[in-house]
């Protein structure tokens, strides 16, 4: 993994990102703000699934309102994340937080899509099943874990100890 990361960091696109100071800062700033939009939109959808927000609206209405914000900001967040990875692959690929963040992101996307399908079938005003509400709580925590894990990349070894591949 380290050898691949070192090879990647010597490629032209990686060198271009590394050597453009303002571009790295711009990527990080965009990544951070879109993380906020993602977290806010996901929280509203999942809190509605739990019946803790916007109960006067159907789940479908809340999904229609927030899912475009969730998906579009997620797309920008992923794109800026890939560019940041390309700009410093050794730092990212040797971080346990980074890999955990990717797994959690995958679970968030698939789990939320699954929950939306389930919740869309429930009659307006009816409560979701216990299993679906437990899934919503788990997904809420998982979406909130993403910015947390993102920042933890800087502190990987201090937090994860031997699980970190950093030396």
């Amino acid at each position: 993994m380290r050898a691949f990361a070192e090879w990647l960091s010597a490629t032209a696109p990686s060198v271009a990102i590394q050597s453009t100071f303002w571009f790295i800062r711009l990527l990080q700033a965009t990544h951070l703000l879109t993380a906020g939009v993602v977290a806010g939109a996901a929280a509203m959808i999942l809190l509605r699934a739990l019946g803790w927000q916007r109960n006067d609206e159907s789940f479908d209405a809340v999904w229609r309102r927030f899912s475009p914000w969730l998906t579009s900001s997620l797309a920008v967040m992923v794109a800026t994340g890939i560019a940041q990875t390309l700009g410093d692959p050794v730092r990212e690929f040797t971080s346990f937080s980074y890999w955990l963040k990717l797994v959690v992101l995958l679970l968030c996307v698939t789990g939320t899509a699954l929950l939306a399908r389930k919740a869309g079938r429930v009659a307006p005003g009816a409560r979701l099943s216990v299993a679906a509400r437990l899934l919503a709580i788990a997904l809420l925590l998982a979406w909130l874990a993403l910015p947390l894990l993102g920042r933890m990349i800087a502190y990987d070894r201090a937090i994860w100890g031997g699980l970190s591949m950093r030396t």
Binding site: I24, G36, A43, Q84, R91, L148, G150, Y155, A158
Partner: protein, 179 residues
């Protein structure tokens, strides 16, 4: 009592000492601060877009505000606690940092904007709350809020790029590249 002596006593406090020397207190507090800050931005954005008339236009602002701003205040409370804990670790360096000073100004501006909205602009709320486009003053308040909270998040990140640290960074902690 001078500002310098207050900062020195904060930085020399037992809490600051604990924050600096207890692994992994600082990483967890800082990551939680980032989470809280992005949640403040993400939830305040929902209310601001309603004020701008760009989203939730069929939903009363009073309702949108009541629902989302509860989450905003919760996140803001967490960010104040975690931010204060981070501040203790190197109070003098934070205080002298330009990005920190601008962040403090942006926070003050956001607070003033909210106060003016509540005390002045919101008086006309019944006229446009449930229907109709928000008046110019309300849209201005939404835009100012959006810009100031984005600035708070970005300046917070900028502090990390420019501040430096008043203590030895423990082994395995990478605070320098690229952020």
């Amino acid at each position: 009592m001078s500002v310098e002596s207050v900062l020195a006593s904060i930085q020399g406090s037992a809490l600051a000492e604990w924050m600096r020397n207890t692994s992994p207190a600082m990483p967890i507090v800082e990551a939680t601060h980032v989470l809280a800050a992005v949640m403040v931005f993400g939830t305040v954005l929902i209310a601001d877009l309603r004020l701008l008339g760009l989203a939730d236009s069929t939903r009363p602002f009073s309702r949108v505000g009541r629902e989302t701003l509860r989450l905003t205040w919760l996140a803001f409370g967490v960010s104040v606690i975690t931010g204060s804990l981070m501040f203790t670790t190197s109070a003098q360096t934070y205080f002298a940092n330009t990005a920190f000073q601008f962040k403090a100004l942006a926070l003050l501006g956001a607070g003033l904007n909210m106060t003016v909205f509540q005390l002045v602009t919101a008086r006309a709320l019944p006229a446009w709350d449930a229907s109709g486009p928000p008046p110019r003053a309300a849209r201005a308040a939404g835009l100012i809020s959006l810009l100031l909270w984005a600035a708070v998040v970005l300046l917070g990140r900028w502090i990390g790029f420019t501040k430096g640290y008043d203590f030895t960074i423990p082994p395995g902690v990478d605070l320098t590249v690229p952020g």
